[in-house]
């Protein structure tokens, strides 16, 4: 295995370098395992050395060409979605009969870029593990039950990642308000006024049975009083929290 690696390195000196440059460019934090899987022939030390050389070459060429955002990290929504033409050209010189490799971002739809002025509508993607509740819906505002309290999200909201607690999420579109009870999840608010809200379970308020809620609340309050271990106490407390949130949602 080692001898084979030495041979290929001597005969095809240029090709591997192109590979490693491509991989470095595609993802800033490229992992050695990704590179190793692409180039099965080379041991990891070789690859690390090649990456280091590649990064030196890249930073030199990048600083020469455009020094706009070399050090500043762009938001994920601002990265250019076009194919890198200089890479394609250098690829064609080295391997003219092969298509340039496709990067993962070429399979994805390009994200909407951050507008220079605040857009008028917020685009909401509300997904559950088994269904996509709202997909790309343009709304005026959503109010999400973050752990830090009810958070109102308007277009142009500062990019935030919010953990959600059990509570009501309301989607405001003109005079329409749609309310869901969310069990827990996360909300990702992006700079381009796109909100990705993910929850494990979300139901419209009409589908909740009030009597079951009361029963559950009584049961878990009693469990909390009689719990002994830390874990039991935590479970009982979760039950109390969720049921009182549902209670408040139904009555409020």
């Amino acid at each position: 295995m080692w001898a084979k690696a030495k041979n290929t390195r001597a005969t095809k000196a240029r090709e591997p370098q192109t590979y490693s440059i491509f991989i470095f460019k595609e993802s800033q934090g490229s992992t050695l395992s990704l590179v190793s899987s692409h180039l099965q022939i080379f041991p990891r030390l070789q690859i690390a050395a090649m990456l280091r050389q590649a990064s030196r070459l890249i930073s030199r060429s990048v600083t020469a060409a455009s020094s706009k955002s070399v050090t500043a990290r762009a938001f994920s929504t601002e990265l250019p979605s076009t194919i890198d033409s200089t890479f394609v050209e250098s690829w064609k010189k080295v391997a003219p009969n092969m298509d340039p490799p496709r990067t993962p971002s070429s399979f994805m739809k390009p994200r909407p870029s951050t507008a220079s002025s605040i857009p008028t509508k917020l685009t909401v993607n509300f997904v559950l593990p088994y269904a996509s509740e709202l997909s790309g819906k343009e709304v005026d505002m959503v109010i999400i039950p973050a752990t830090t309290g009810q958070m109102g999200v308007l277009p142009g909201h500062v990019p935030t990642i919010a953990e959600l607690k059990p509570g009501i999420m309301s989607v405001h579109e003109g005079t329409d308000i749609k309310k869901y009870f969310v069990s827990s999840g996360f909300a990702f608010l992006h700079a381009n006024s796109v909100a990705d809200i993910i929850a494990v379970e979300a139901v419209p308020l009409e589908n909740i049975d009030a009597s079951q809620v009361q029963k559950g609340l009584a049961e878990f309050t009693q469990k909390l009083a009689s719990a002994s271990t830390d874990l039991e106490k935590a479970e009982a407390q979760i039950g109390v929290e969720v049921h009182s949130a549902m209670n408040a949602a139904l009555s409020g």
Partner: protein
């Protein structure tokens, strides 16, 4: 840098976020009206077979299944 950040009560009790989230979802599903409740509880069904390996051979598998007859 001491990590003295306030942890949620469930994390302090040794529970992970996934466990917490699944318990919350389970409780919400239990409070739904019929027939949505039946459909919802369908989502909680689990089926897996787990076998540990010792000395290059798999040991007796543990089978957990909520679907009858499998």
């Amino acid at each position: 840098m001491a990590s003295t950040a306030a942890v949620p009560f469930w994390r302090a009790a040794g529970m992970t976020y996934i466990t917490y989230s699944n318990i919350c979802a389970n409780l919400v599903r239990n409070c739904l009206k019929e027939p949505l409740k039946a459909e919802a509880l369908n989502r909680e069904k689990v089926h897996f077979s787990l076998s540990k390996w010792a000395g290059g051979k798999p040991e007796k598998p543990i089978l957990r299944s909520d679907t009858p007859g499998v």
